[in-house]
Symmetry: C2
Subunit: 565 residues, 2 copies
C-alpha cells in the first residue's frame, strides 16, 4: 500500500481532513472528522485506563500558552530549533539538514557552519527553482505570541505537555500526600512550528500528545509489578545498532536498558500499542544515540513502527533524570524536591558556619543580628579564600574569616531532600492513530477492509433493515437505539444494497453488522426474534436473538471470539 491511498480513504470517510482546505490548506495541519474523533478518543481512553486504573496514576490538564520563563528553564528557548535556509530566488524556506540527507550520514547533528560548508562543497541549490541558497540560520520551533496587550509578556505555545506537569510538581506532590512514586498523565495539544512539514499526519505543526511523567526516588528505580513481566520479550535495537529479541530482565541485567522502571514502561508501551492494534511484527524499540538524545534525557528509547514511510517513532520512553525539576527549582527558586524519610532517624555530623557575635556587634551595630543570620545560612563551601560574600540590603558584603568560624555539630535528621527522577513515556497520538489505520488496512481487488480492534473501532456495529418497508426499518431503528443507549457506538444505514452497506462498514473498520430481515419479524417467534450478525474479519454470519444482542455485543467488544457464538 501507499500512504496516499489510506489518506484518501481517511479524507473520504471522515477520519481526517487537511485543515482549512477551502482556503488552500496549511502544511502540517489536519482536522479530525467524525470517525477520526471517535477513534482518537478511544485511543485516549485505553491509554488513560492503562495508566490510571492499571498503575494508579492521576491526570491533569494544563495550559497550552506558557510564559517565557517556563521554556527558559526547560531549555526549549536555547535548544528547540532547526536550521532554516531560504532560497534567494523563490524565497521558499527549507530545513537545511533535509537538503543534505544524501551527503552526510547524520545531518541533524551538524551546526550552521557545518551545514553551510556542505552546501558550498556540493553546490546544493534550491530543489524547487534551482536558485541559490542563502545563509543557514537557527530557527526556534516554538510558536511565539504575546500574553496581554503590548509585547511585554512573551508567551509560547507548548512544544510538549510535559512542562505543565513539571511546573505543577509542588501541587501534585501535595496531592499525592508527599509520597513517591507519583505518576501523572496529560494529553492535549503540542506545537512545533515546522519549517516545511511533509508526510501526512506524521509531522504536524499542531499535534496531539499523550504524555506520562513518573516521578521516582532516584535511588530506587525498580517497579512493583516489574517481576510479573520480566520474562516477556522485547525487540530492541540498542545503541550498538545490533537488533536482538531478549527478555526484559536480560536487557536490564546486561545493562542495555538502564533500570527496571524504564524497562517496565518500555514493556508497558509495547503491551498498550499492541492492544490498540499496532502490529507486533512491525514494532521495535530503538535506543537513542548519545548525539541524537534530547538535551534533557539520560537514556531514551523510541517505540518505532514500520510504516509505508519507513521505521517511524511513535512513542519515546525517556529517563529525564532530575533535569526538569532541577531546572525549574533553579529558575523559580521554589523547592521541587521530595523529602525522603529514613526508616529510623539518623544522627549525623555536619560542619556549619557560626557567626562571631562579639566581633560583629561593634562593626555592624543594629544590623549585626541579621548579618549573623545571613552568615549562618551559608555553607562552608561558600567560603572563598577566607572570605564569605553575603548579600545584605541589595549589596554584596565581603565578610572576612575573623568574623565567623567552622563548627562541627551533631544532629538527628529524619530524612533528606532528593530531587525525583522522571521516567517519561511520551506518545505521539496522531502517529499512533495513523499506525493503527495503516496496520489495519487491507485491500483486495478494490475491496477495502480496516481490521480495527473492536475496542478502538469508531463504530462497533452497523444496523441495517433489509428493506425500508414492512416495519423492518422501525425494528432496525429500535435495535439501533437500544445499542446506542447502552453506550455501544452503532450506525444506522438503510441506503443501497446490503452488500454495499457491508462494504461501507468494512471500509471504516466496523467489526460487526446487524441486519433485520423478514425472519426477524415472523410473529410467532415472539421474544425469540432473531437478527443476522455478521463478522467483519471472517465474513461469517450467525442468527442471534434480539434479547441477547446487547450481551453478545458487549462480550464481543471485550474480546470474545465470534466463532464461539
Amino acid at each position: 500500500m501507499n500512504a496516499g491511498e489510506l489518506l484518501s480513504l481517511c479524507k473520504r470517510r471522515g477520519f481526517i481532513w487537511p485543515s482549512f482546505e477551502i482556503y488552500g490548506g496549511v502544511a502540517g495541519m489536519y482536522d479530525y472528522g467524525p470517525l477520526g474523533t471517535v477513534l482518537k478518543d478511544n485511543i485516549i481512553s485505553m491509554w488513560r485506563n492503562a495508566y490510571k486504573k492499571g498503575e494508579g496514576f492521576v491526570e491533569i490538564d494544563s495550559e497550552t500558552v506558557n510564559p517565557e520563563q517556563v521554556f527558559k528553564a526547560s531549555g526549549h528557548i536555547d535548544e528547540f530549533s532547526d536550521f532554516v535556509v531560504y532560497c534567494q530566488g523563490c524565497n521558499e524556506p527549507f530545513r537545511a539538514d533535509h537538503l543534505v540527507g544524501d551527503l552526510h550520514p547524520n545531518p541533524d547533528t551538524l551546526d550552521a557552519a557545518g551545514l553551510k560548508s556542505l552546501f558550498v562543497e556540493n553546490g546544493v541549490r534550491c530543489p524547487d527553482c534551482d536558485g541559490e541558497l542563502g545563509e543557514v540560520e537557527e530557527f526556534n520551533l516554538m510558536f511565539k505570541t504575546n500574553i496581554g496587550p503590548g509585547s511585554s509578556r512573551v508567551g509560547y505555545l507548548r512544544p510538549e505537555t510535559a512542562q505543565g506537569i513539571f511546573v505543577n510538581f509542588p501541587h501534585l506532590y501535595r496531592y499525592n500526600r508527599e509520597k513517591l512514586p507519583l505518576g501523572v498523565i496529560q494529553h492535549g495539544r503540542g506545537y512545533r512550528n515546522e519549517i516545511s512539514p511533509r508526510q501526512g499526519i506524521i509531522r504536524l505543526r499542531e499535534f496531539n500528545m499523550m504524555e506520562v511523567e513518573l516521578f521516582v526516588d532516584p535511588e530506587d528505580k525498580g517497579w512493583v509489578r516489574y517481576p510479573t513481566i520480566k520474562d516477556e520479550t522485547l525487540r530492541l535495537v540498542p545503541e550498538d545498532g545490533r537488533e536482538r529479541s531478549i527478555t526484559v530482565s536480560e536487557a536490564v541485567s546486561e545493562g542495555i536498558i538502564a533500570n527496571e522502571v524504564l524497562a517496565y514502561f518500555i514493556w508497558f508501551t509495547k503491551d498498550l500499542l499492541t492492544r490498540l492494534g499496532v502490529d507486533g511484527e512491525r514494532l521495535r524499540f530503538r535506543q537513542h544515540l548519545s548525539d541524537e538524545m534530547a538535551h534533557y534525557a539520560m537514556d531514551c528509547w523510541d517505540a518505532e513502527v514500520l510504516l509505508s514511510y519507513g521505521w517511524t517513532e511513535i512513542v519515546g520512553i525517556a529517563d529525564r533524570g532530575c533535569w526538569d525539576l532541577t531546572q525549574h527549582a533553579k529558575w523559580s527558586k521554589q523547592d521541587m524536591s521530595h523529602f525522603k524519610r529514613f526508616d529510623e532517624p539518623k544522627e549525623i555530623e555536619r560542619d556549619v558556619l557560626k557567626a562571631k557575635y562579639r566581633e560583629l556587634g561593634p562593626l555592624f551595630k543594629g544590623d549585626a543580628k541579621e548579618i549573623a543570620r545571613l552568615i549562618e545560612e551559608r555553607a562552608l563551601a561558600d567560603v572563598d579564600n577566607g572570605v564569605l560574600k553575603v548579600e545584605f540590603n541589595g549589596e554584596m558584603l565581603d565578610i572576612p574569616e575573623n568574623l565567623f568560624e567552622a563548627v562541627t555539630v551533631r544532629e538527628k535528621i529524619s530524612g533528606e531532600k532528593v530531587v525525583p527522577h522522571v521516567i517519561e513515556p511520551s506518545h505521539g497520538l496522531d502517529r499512533i492513530f495513523y499506525t493503527i489505520l495503516e496496520h489495519a488496512y487491507r485491500r483486495d481487488d478494490d475491496y477495502t477492509v480496516l481490521s480495527l480492534r473492536p475496542e478502538v473501532a469508531p463504530i462497533k456495529v452497523g444496523v441495517f433493515p433489509l428493506m425500508t418497508r414492512d416495519g423492518l426499518d422501525t425494528k432496525a431503528e429500535e435495535i439501533f437505539r437500544m445499542l446506542n443507549d447502552a453506550g455501544i457506538d452503532a450506525y444506522y444505514d438503510d441506503s443501497g444494497s446490503i452488500g454495499k452497506r457491508y462494504a461501507r462498514m468494512d471500509e471504516v473498520g466496523t467489526p460487526w453488522c446487524v441486519t433485520v430481515d423478514y425472519e426477524t419479524l415472523e410473529e410467532d417467534r415472539g421474544t425469540k426474534d432473531t437478527v443476522t450478525l455478521r463478522d467483519r474479519d471472517s465474513s461469517e454470519q450467525r442468527r442471534i436473538p434480539v434479547v441477547n444482542l446487547l450481551n453478545v455485543m458487549q462480550s464481543l467488544i471485550k474480546g470474545e471470539d465470534f466463532a464461539s457464538l
Copy 2:
C-alpha cells in the same frame, strides 16, 4: 459563601490550580488538577451524550492555530476587540470600559472617542497609582503568531471552536450525505487575550468550550422533538427586560423566541445544565439587546446563573443565520450551500443573457467563443447602464448591450441552492464547571460538603478499611480494585479516623463511602460478607453484601434513591 473560599478548596484538593504559580502565575490562566480533570471530563461526556446519542450529532476536532483568512472572513479581525488604556505613570494596561462602569449604563457599547470623553469629563485616573491615563486604543483580543519561519504567514489562536466547524462544512455536508439538518459538536480550547482578567476562572485567557453548530434549512426552523417539550417552562428575560416564566410554545407563539429550533435548544440547554447540577432556581435565559449582540448573531439568548459574582453567562444560544457560511463562501470562493431538492421537479421561467455570436465574431475573432461563454455565465442583474463587465485574460472588458440580449427560458429544476442557517449553543466549560461547584457547595460550622451529582462527581465512592490490619486493608483493596476495574471511579483511603476520611470525601463531592470493618470479615458469613455504605447527602448508612456492591453502585450512579436500598 464567597468565591475565594471555594477557590481555596479547589486549589487545596486538586480541582484547579493557578497556572505557573512557581513563576508567580499569569492572570487569567488556570490548570485542572487530578479531581478537576475528571469532573471536567464528566461534564464533557454528558454534553457529548446529550447531543450525539440524544440528537444524532457528530463530533469533530479541529486546529487551534488558524491562518488569518479564517478570521478575516469570520469578522474577528475587525470586530473581536476591546479598548485598552495605559496608565502614563505605572504603565499598567486597563480595559477602558471597566474604568467607567459607574459613569455609564452600558460602557461596552461606547467607542474610543466616547470612552475618552467620559475619562476627561469625569477626571478618571489610574485605579492603581492615580496616574494620568493615556489614549484609548483598540486591542484585538486574538493571540497572534506566525505559522512557519518568517512573518509571512500570520496565524491566530482561535477565539471560538465554531470556525473549525464552518470551514469544514463541505466535508461535513458530504459526510452527512448532503442532507440537512446537520448537527456538529466540538469541544476544546478557545483563546481570548484579555487585557486584565479577573474573577477566578470566570474570565480566562485560555478556556475550554463545548460548541454545537446545527445547520438547518433556513425555511424550516422547526425541530422533530419540539412537540415533546413545548409545554415545558422557561424562565426568560426578553429584550424588554421583564422577566417571566412561560412555556416554550408560548415564547415561540408570542414571538419572544424567534423560532422553534432555537426554543428547543434553549430548553435542551436548561435540561442539560440542571442534569449537570446547576441549580434550576438560579438559572434564567436572557435575550441579548440588539447593541450587545455579536456581529454574527440574528438572535441570542444567554443561559445565566446566579453566582457569588452575580448573574453570569455560562452558555450562549444564538441563531447565527447564514452569516458564517456566507462569509466563508465569499472569502474562499467555495460553495458552502445546501442543494435543497424539491418533492417534485419544478418548471420555472428564468431570464438569461444570450451572446450575439454574429456581432462578437468580427470583433473578437478567435476569442469570440470564450467571450460568449463569459457573457452567458452572468446574470441580467450584472448589466449596469447597458454595459456588462467581463474579466478576460486578467483584464476587464466593457461589453456594450448590442453584443448580447436578455432571453426568457423555461427549465425544469429539481431543487435549489440555499445557504443553511446555524443554531449555536456555545458552552463555557470552565464556567459550567465553576457553577456546578458553587451550586453544590455547603458549609456548616467549618464542615464542607460538595453535593455534586453522582454522574459528574470525580470520585463515585471512597473505600476504607476500618483499620490497616487483620486483613481489613487487603479486603478493602480488593473491593477498591473490583469497583475500579468495573469503571467506577473509586478512591482508597486508609489514613486517619473514619470521620476524617468521610470529611475528606464529602469535601470533594464523593456521593458514597464503603467501609470494611470486622463484621465484613466474620468467617461464617461466607459469600454474605457485608460492608457499610454511607450516603453523603443524608449521612445514612446501610449494610450491603459485597457480592451486590457493584450492582448497587451502578444503580445509585444512574439515579436510584439511597433510601430505597
